[in-house]
Symmetry: C2
Subunit: 362 residues, 2 copies
């Protein structure tokens, strides 16, 4: 059952059009982690919530922070404020955060019986707060810009579930992958079902595009990436509804460090491929731009400099993609907490201003 | 002035031949960080030394640990036991180690005056202990296998010198790169001179091949990689002697995460390009194998499994390179401390056994 919204497209639909490689007047722009710690108003709301997790679990406050960057900058999309790890948390792993150390799980998956016992949660039940946030954000947006829903990829979630925290060497994941691949496949089976249900529920609650964050696919060898990450993302996308309420729901897949595998990613059933800043957009466009849209790829480090440099690097990124449709401007990874908000303002206005020339060659 | 060794080639010269794409009967193999914490005898010597740094600074003990893996496994090369950070330490930055946290510098480069004051050390003076170790290891090897010398790349050293420690987001490096590129170029100029002098001194002391470790080049955008990392490695290689004592001294360049830039790396003046495990050797060979040798690229995670899996993955790696010369077998990154030594034994013997078929097609 879905919350039924009017079938109207958002007034600003450049993101949805660009993801489907349809003509637009400008290149749409949004920013990974655009609602985040670089914004003082975000830090205030987070302080009011008490913790990051409390913020994620409160639909009113999640809605508030989702809208904050849109009030400051003329961004072309909102993205649900949440965290990819709320899904494994709903599977019973016990998510918690230690200040300065990032997310951890109380019960990482190490024993065979723990893996056998794992099952996909019912999002209507265990992730109600996310779906409520999606519906509430969608209402609050009042069809101004589209809302993006998201999930971690089955493999990326498995990395956190097995390691129990962010890892440098992925010791336990690699041990399992090479030593007990059957156990890793079992986790990925469950995660695939969980991610599919979760994204379907987000779509039914009002998400107008969805994105798979494959943050850790890039730690794999090429054959292992195909077997343990890409194959499962492909299955998620096969199972998701292509349309909802009469509109196509575009899908973005982003594997950080996946630049060598763009052709394979473009074949996985997505509409757009996210690329990090190590990839050159002109070469990426040559390789896969006739099949899918591209999203990216400014180095978030550029935003640590100054507005002039930001404008110059934005222009360089737009020029690398060049004339034509099918580019969604974004960073190559999440924005960092040390970013001065005026650099974000410079970025967004530069994208809109400088991109016109590439869309109206006449 | 160099310590003069007889002009004899090592009895086992397969590494040197493979680096120059000359015929060999088997594929040579060595392992990044082969003298390290996965070996109980290494841990004993380190305990005797008192600390990792004391071990680096004691030529007798550095020689001892360099030889340890060769006593266990029929490896085709020795590599100087040292750390890339002893060079910035010799520049006055104050290297120290915190157990479980990795290397740190007491005085990271943040202020303009610190950067202006930086200068390249005289290795004969400030890095005497490394050169003594090189000469002593070379004598102890008694021409059985060649000795590899090494340095961090100018950019990779700069990352540690600016951040003051290993970093996840490279906040300060990126701020400088985009905000004050002149300062980063100044550091890289000094580092280039320092690395060149250091490697030249290693060659004069007995190193028969050299390797540049560009561990962090892969965090850069494609144009930034060329400007801030590759260009400076190229200058180091231009300045180094091509031959010593009548023998070519082959050069290996390894940029972790540099798989998208192999063509450019192959043009930088190296004889061999190191590749990490995200790269497929067959495609790398197709792209640059007619110009340079390839070194790599088994996922170090494979060594966390079991001998059967190791043998299977070694065979797959050798098959990916296929028939022909110019492959040096290695991991795609350093061996981890959790590796069971019997898996290393399985790797080395599998490389020698399984590679014969690719070298003797007759």
């Amino acid at each position: 059952m879905g919350t039924h919204f009017p079938m109207t497209r958002p007034i600003n639909d450049t993101l949805l059009r660009a993801l489907l490689r349809q003509p637009t007047d400008t290149t749409p722009v949004w920013i990974m982690r655009q609602a985040g710690r670089y914004l003082p108003e975000y830090n205030q709301t987070r302080a009011r919530a008490g913790s990051f997790l409390a913020l994620c679990r409160n639909p009113n406050l999640a809605t508030e922070v989702t809208l904050q960057p849109l009030a400051r900058f003329p961004l072309d999309a909102a993205i649900l404020f949440s965290d990819i790890l709320v899904l494994p948390d709903a599977m019973g792993l016990g998510l918690y955060f230690v200040e300065g150390e990032g997310p951890k799980f109380e019960r990482p998956l190490r024993e065979e019986w723990e893996i056998r016992d794992l099952s996909a949660p019912d999002p209507d039940n265990h992730l109600r707060y996310v779906l409520d946030a999606v519906a509430q954000i969608r209402r609050a947006l009042d069809n101004q810009v589209p809302l993006i829903g998201f999930s971690g990829s089955p493999f990326t979630l498995a990395c956190y579930m097995i390691e129990g925290e962010a890892s440098r060497d992925f010791r336990w994941v690699k041990s399992m992958l090479y030593g007990r691949p059957d156990l890793l496949h079992r986790i990925l089976e469950v995660n695939t079902q969980a991610v599919t249900r979760y994204l379907r529920a987000q779509i039914e609650s009002g998400a107008q595009a969805i994105m798979l964050f494959d943050t850790w696919g890039g730690i794999l060898s090429s054959p292992a990436y195909r077997e343990f990450s890409l194959a499962y993302m492909q299955r998620v996308l096969q199972e998701l509804p292509r349309e909802w309420d009469g509109h196509i729901v575009p899908r973005i897949v982003f594997t950080k460090g996946g630049g060598l595998w763009l052709e394979a990613i473009a074949d996985c059933g997505c509409d757009a491929v996210g690329v990090d800043w190590t990839v050159e957009l002109d070469s990426a466009k040559q390789r896969i731009g006739h099949r899918v849209a591209l999203q990216g790829n400014l180095d978030p480090g550029v935003l640590l400099s100054n507005p002039d440099t930001v404008v110059r690097e934005v222009a360089r990124t737009l020029a690398a993609f060049g004339p034509g449709h099918g580019h969604v401007f974004n960073l190559g990874h999440g924005i960092t907490q040390w970013t001065p908000p005026e650099n974000v303002a410079a970025l967004v206005s530069a994208v809109h201003r400088e991109s016109r020339r590439y869309h109206n060659p006449g």
